[in-house]
Symmetry: C2
Subunit: 409 residues, 2 copies
């Protein structure tokens, strides 16, 4: 058995113990404290990563790689917040009496072993580890090469705490691409893969595994300015959707404008003033992730919906209009994770949605869609409690009938 397979098996055993037999809240509190206590060696490790990358990384990436007092403070506060949320495990979602003395319960449980692949940002490792601990899942983490020392130091601190609860292997690192490829083939042991990073990285993972992948490759978001749009709102929403932070998946890439909209010149000028390059009637379906926007004129909401269906990535789209009937059609008929009315596409985010934490943004059509919070790391099982009940009683002639009474939970 390969080393990586052994890691995954140890993770599976740790998941079984973590999800049932330990105080996960206490683990999280201890992890927060241990990160504070061990700040110095973590900062040392980060300095080594930063030195190694000084000449090769852009200043933006270099800044993301930095893990300092303020980043540590955010991470520790985040873990304490997660520790303070109610334990999601064991929650009874539904309860049905099938017959007298025969009770069916749908109970919230973790998914199992999750593989998380992320790029350079070192605060991702403690964040996802904490979410995994809170939800009783084990996690195998593959971070970016640039942050290798920082990640190793952070995960080392977390594992030391886990060890004192005998669930050390609930959080493990994998270090090479070959190991990731091995993990992606273990659909018997790993139940979910969460990649966070460039579209190329996410797409490459989606193409190499049969394990469910929670995430999105592209964020091709659209702003549709309707004939009946308010000009001021159209200007604000177009500029915010594109230019407030263009490098992220919920930034808009294409502007659709109704040909009878009176404020087109003002909107386009406002975008130019915000530094946006406009590509008129070209490059639809392209994720610029930059101050560039495709612009397309349409004859109405039907054409806008059809354009989004053809070129979009089912992430997030918004309509600007004062016409409630048109807005209702857009909200119902556009098949995207987020459909907005008179609001910026940039609101598509777990923190802004109030989910507490964001595991990722999913363009999947099953399990979890849009910004995903902790509930994306959870599933359910059915517990059935009887007293010697058998199916023969409910079959054939004289079959006893089920009561199927829903109970309040």
């Amino acid at each position: 058995m390969s080393e990586t397979r052994q890691q995954a098996e140890r993770a599976h055993r740790a998941f079984l113990r973590l999800s049932t037999s330990v105080d996960r809240t206490q683990i999280l509190r201890d992890v927060a404290k241990a990160l504070e206590t061990n700040a110095a060696p973590v900062f040392d490790a980060n300095r080594k990563d930063l030195e190694a990358s000084r000449s090769t990384l852009s200043s933006a990436l270099y800044k993301r790689l930095m893990f300092n007092e303020s980043k540590l403070r955010d991470v520790v506060d985040g873990i304490r917040q997660i520790a303070a949320t109610a334990d999601p495990l064991g929650r009874v979602i539904e309860e049905t009496e099938l017959d007298e003395g025969l009770i069916l319960r749908k109970v919230q449980v973790p998914i199992g072993v999750i593989a998380m692949i992320f790029e350079s940002r070192p605060d991702a490792a403690p964040q996802i580890a904490s979410l995994a601990i809170r939800t009783g899942n084990a996690v195998l983490l593959k971070g970016g090469r640039e942050a290798a020392q920082t990640n190793a130091a952070l995960v080392g601190v977390i594992r030391e705490v886990l060890q004192s609860f005998d669930v050390e292997d609930a959080v493990q690192m994998v270090s090479t691409r070959e190991e990731v490829s091995e993990l992606l083939a273990m659909d018997d042991l790993i139940s979910l893969v969460i990649p966070r990073g460039s579209n190329e990285m996410v797409r490459s993972i989606q193409e190499r595994t049969r394990i469910p992948v929670l995430g999105h490759a592209d964020g091709i978001c659209h702003v549709y300015i309707d004939e009946a749009a308010d000009v001021e709102k159209a200007v604000k929403i177009a500029v915010d959707s594109k230019a407030q932070y263009p490098a992220v998946c919920n930034a808009a890439e294409t502007l659709l404008i109704h040909r009878n909209f009176k404020g087109t010149d003002r909107v386009l000028q406002a975008l130019r003033d915000a530094g946006v390059q406009l590509r008129i009637e070209s490059e639809f379906g392209h994720e610029f992730l930059d101050l560039i926007m495709a612009v397309h004129t349409v004859g109405g909401v039907d054409e806008a919906i059809a354009h989004i269906d053809r070129f979009g990535s089912r992430h997030t789209e918004t309509i600007v209009t004062e016409n409630a009937v048109t807005a209702e059609r857009f909200l119902n008929e556009v098949d995207s994770a987020g459909v907005f009315w008179n609001a910026s596409t940039r609101f598509a985010d777990g923190f802004r949605y109030g989910l507490g934490a964001e595991v990722g943004i999913s363009t999947n059509k099953t399990h979890a869609r849009g910004p995903v919070g902790m509930e994306g790391l959870l599933i359910y099982k059915y517990q059935l409690i009887g007293n010697g009940h058998i199916v023969a009683t409910y079959s054939g002639d004289n079959a006893r009938k089920f009561t199927h009474k829903k109970r309040q939970v």
Copy 2:
């Protein structure tokens, strides 16, 4: 573009229309009526299928292939029941005020285009088509070769009704294995695959696609008889779990018995009396689907849980015991879709659970687990309704705070 790809694209367009612009309840009522009116040609088609298979099929399969007055009655009643259930689309699952005038709604919607692959039973086609229509999904159906004429006749009747609502392509047949292989590669158009049939068929589909597959290959279910089991209950549950209908996935394959249980001889004799062949200490993890059962002696609940973890398929397991503490451990620590206490594994079924209809039984760890009803064909989208709201307002110095008030729905 291949014919099959064109079919999938037509299905996608039909899904967009079916889910938003037509009276799905009326369609279902009309389908039920049309199946009654067109019974004669359907029975004719079925006679042709039966004649073609007379010499090659076993009598059990021949009986499953038969589509007569009584099967039609069941199908039509089932469709009318589905028509009578509340429309699941548009239901608001959660509502949150993000800020004054900025309301986030999580709304139930269909998944999209679903590929359904099933074997000879011809009542499967109208059942799954009706569930798809109720939930606003389009479905591409591939039935068994033996039922080709019956399926074509049934789907022909359904499509004629759909045509009168301009959504004919929401239900389509595919006929060859090559077409199925093509569909399994279209992860951009098809969002869920549901195979129902032999383990070999299901496994082959799971191995050939990156589209989420709802179902299960194996049903390796376990009965664990604890030291503290009541002998009468143990006898009843062991016999019912194995022998009540051994050819199905929720029938038990392995009997685990605590070495101190006093009634072992009585349980084993009762199984033999029910015609069950016992395989003592061998063939663990084998799905017999027949009157054969592996038997293994264990030293306690820990050993039983470890055995199930190693050899089971995470489908359904039951413990027989009068000890509530031991039962609680089994219910919490066994990581299967169904964990039962003093009840037969055969209860793992959508109708017995009161789900109204069963789409399949899933051993997946994401989206849907265990017996899956209509909710397995549904997902959600987020609608955000604002009035010119932009993210810049909530960023930087003087950032406005979100209220994140949950509203009752």
